[in-house]
Symmetry: C2
Subunit: 500 residues, 2 copies
């Protein structure tokens, strides 16, 4: 039987190699590729994707899995977990016809280009026919699967295996009024505006970049197994457990944002760098789900990076590097500035108090779109009404409204909720960590992150895909994903900052 397992591992190892090769090609496309290279690159990626799909959906894999499932049923060994994950991947991949994948690739490539144009012109009508096609494909995708409790479950499951729409709605339903109440309290406490002008002064790009690498190097991001490059958008990508790269950017209008996007991506990357090397080239490699991944990135960005102990640690050095920009600013006032709460239009720039509300808006819209209960042409108006209702502000145009995110052009429906779930998990883990590491604040104030990273490695990272995400969260924190810890975290943080 171990021979069958080896056969399966060999095939899936080749699939992993093909997928990683594709990741190198995509990374190169976004970081290095000269403008002329796009057409051939698309073709190369399509070929790698096609061969990986053929190999991973072959009858041989199906037969091996059937036999191995029986053999390894009920065990909690790595092998058993590997076969479980491989069987789930196989089931999904074989349900979706190759022609559909090809059609989806064509439709979303065109939709992405239309979205870039539409956003540039702030003209939803350019994107509308493409979005209609994308939604049609999403509905068709759902039809390949057996009926679920909620059609959206099928989409969600691709990013958060096992998570149900009803559960997300329940979590969000309990969280929402508490976040709204908190925002109201903050708003009425804001008699004196927080000073944050120094965040928008002129900073030298290279100095900011180098400083960001010092920070994430101290966190524990291993540059001997990774690198940070410039790209249009910050992202993390893995070619193996020993080659996990991140990208970042510098925006002159918001120069210090580079620090926080660097911390965020390094959080994703440290997760990938910490997975058990024995899982390489198997379905257990890599982070287990979008929400658990996001819990790592948001933890390093927010619970560490935007904490007072960290500001006390890092601000004096920052001030030495940028003495004129930060003249008269203290660690505490820096801390307050980077945590300023202000309902705003753009999700990716939102503060922690309002961020999840952006996500909830998108989830509601996605469910309605997929159910066909909303006409795509009405989307901008509905979006704006929801923004008024949720945050009390109206987008001045579609670029700052319904067109702001790229996800729908890629066909990524079911992804958004995991951003908010990740925030919740980060706070759940944080409470547990602080029970296990009593002096964590002190350690952070001294610039020591090894106990924290060691804890995350042992409890989360090393397991890769071995446990399903909800089981992992339960195993580590004692409860499934819920919002209580996050509400406690936000309340404590903003009570201090705004004197609530």
């Amino acid at each position: 039987m171990s021979q069958k397992l080896n056969q399966l591992k060999e095939i899936l190892g080749e699939v992993a190699d093909l997928n990683h090769a594709g990741s190198v090609l995509s990374w190169d496309q976004q970081v290095n590729m000269p403008p002329g290279g796009g057409e051939a690159r698309g073709q190369q990626l399509a070929t790698l994707g096609k061969i990986a799909h053929e190999k991973s959906t072959s009858d041989e894999v199906g037969k091996l899995l059937d036999e191995l499932k029986k053999e390894f049923a009920g065990s909690d060994s790595d092998e058993s977990a590997m076969i479980r994950v491989a069987a789930r991947n196989y089931d999904k991949a074989t349900r979706v016809p190759a022609e559909f994948v090809a059609e989806q690739s064509i439709v979303t490539t065109a939709a992405f280009e239309a979205w870039v144009e539409a956003k540039g012109k702030s003209d939803f009508s350019v994107f509308r026919p493409h979005l209609e096609k994308v939604v049609g494909l999403v509905q068709k995708y759902i039809s390949f699967f057996p009926p679920a409790d909620h059609p959206y479950d099928i989409l969600l499951d691709d990013y958060e295996p096992g998570m149900k729409t009803a559960e997300v709605q329940e979590i969000f339903g309990s969280l929402r009024p508490k976040q709204v109440e908190l925002i109201k309290k903050i708003s009425s406490a804001k008699q004196v505006a927080l000073r944050d002008d120094f965040l928008h002064k002129k900073y030298n790009e290279k100095k900011v970049w180098d400083f960001s690498e010092i920070i994430i190097g101290r966190f524990g991001y291993d540059f001997s197994r990774g690198r940070q490059d410039k790209a249009a958008h910050p992202f993390e990508t893995s070619f193996s457990v020993d080659d996990v790269r991140i990208t970042n950017r510098f925006e002159p209008n918001s120069p210090l944002a580079t620090f926080f996007s660097g911390m965020h991506e390094s959080g994703h990357a440290m997760y990938e760098q910490g997975v058990n090397p024995a899982y390489e080239r198997t379905p257990l490699a890599g982070g287990v789900s979008s929400a658990v991944h996001e819990s790592q990135s948001r933890m390093w960005e927010n619970l560490v990076g935007r904490s007072l102990p960290f500001c006390e640690q890092f601000f004096p050095e920052l001030k030495k590097t940028f003495p004129s920009q930060l003249a008269g600013v203290s660690a505490k006032s820096f801390y307050k500035a980077i945590n300023k709460v202000e309902p705003s239009l753009i999700r990716v720039n939102a503060d922690e108090a309002t961020y999840n509300l952006h996500v909830m808006l998108r989830l509601e819209l996605e469910i309605e779109m997929v159910a066909g209960r909303v006409a795509i042409k009405d989307l901008p108006e509905i979006w704006n009404a929801k923004m008024r209702e949720t945050l009390g502000i109206t987008p001045p145009d579609d670029a700052h409204g319904v067109l702001q995110d790229v996800h729908w052009s890629y066909g990524l429906f079911g992804y958004f909720p995991t951003y908010a779930l990740g925030n919740l998990v980060s706070a759940q883990l944080w409470e547990k960590i602080n029970k296990d590491i009593k002096d964590l604040d002190d350690q952070i104030r001294k610039g020591r992150f090894d106990s924290l990273l060691g804890w995350l490695r042992e409890k989360i990272h090393v397991h890769g895909h071995k446990y399903d995400p909800q089981d992992l969260v339960q195993k580590v924190t004692g409860s499934r994903i819920d919002s209580a810890a996050y509400v406690r975290y936000l309340t404590r943080k903003y009570s201090d900052i705004y004197g609530l």
Copy 2:
């Protein structure tokens, strides 16, 4: 029948995509990859290579080729050429068993590492057992093919399709005494040493790098379809006709060498950028042979880059950029300095008058090694004796002797002769170009390279693999590869510089 052709093109298109993906991974390995990434990268490259080999040697391809060969025989269409080249590739690939390819990969990976260590320590004994294995594999490789006029023909054919060992020996036999005589004349004319101290002063790396990009941009290297990056060794690599990249390096001891290696690699790259785009993803894509490729790189490096008209064009600007280093130096004295003749130990640093002799030495040794007429253990001694005999100098150690080149560790036997053949072809083309473009020197003096590049595009580049190399040279210059034009070129050049 066109359906069969399309089937073949589809399969070979996927093979091309896989090979190009492998090239991206190799480029990344040499330009970007963090140290940790090596092991997984080797595995990914092996998988891409294995799948490409399986696809290109399938029975399906064999059957399609058999039928298409009959159909397209005798035509001089692109399709006919494509089938001819595809059939040759298929024949070669199917003769070599997959296990041999795997063994070769393991042996040469270890041999490369041993070579790095051996060169570092200047200790041939570290490399010796590996080189013995490599030579054994080369002999085994030859055994997979039907007997040729000369066993070395089989190796040569992989880099220079159709070229015979006897022909190379005849060409070199006629060239050698003329080059030796020229070197003697130069040596006795060198009463006054050429001043070249300014080439070894301290130059700012970034300024040199930027200047090298200005030069190759003016030559016509298209940066919208390529880029230049730093790597340990200069090389050119193509991912498609629209993404052709080069690498370069900066050596503080020889700072201006960056210009010439940049010109050299841009010559390779302009060739690849100029191939008929209709040949993309077919066996006709890319440069036709190593010698023709080298004719392009050496032409831009030497016949253009080290010419007096080019120095007159580029030196005044160079002097403005580096006024202190070049104080008191004229374009003419710069020209003489970069063309200084001096028998030296290292092939890649050799001047044009002595370069080919380094190549001849290697060809003689390779033929003896492959025939088993020389014991590998005696190689350092034989090398040194040949260096004395050829150039009158003795390597102080093996690092500057038999261990200087990486090629043998890779198993690249049959490659070296193409370096010298490329020099000869560059001069043959140059004579023809100067007949067709009467005022070429004037154009170069004015910094105009468009007629020259246009000529090369039309006569050489656009054809890709359509014509076999000797046929192409014949078609363009009226004769097969020979040394007369190169001897005329060297004699004219050095008569001027050394007043012979």
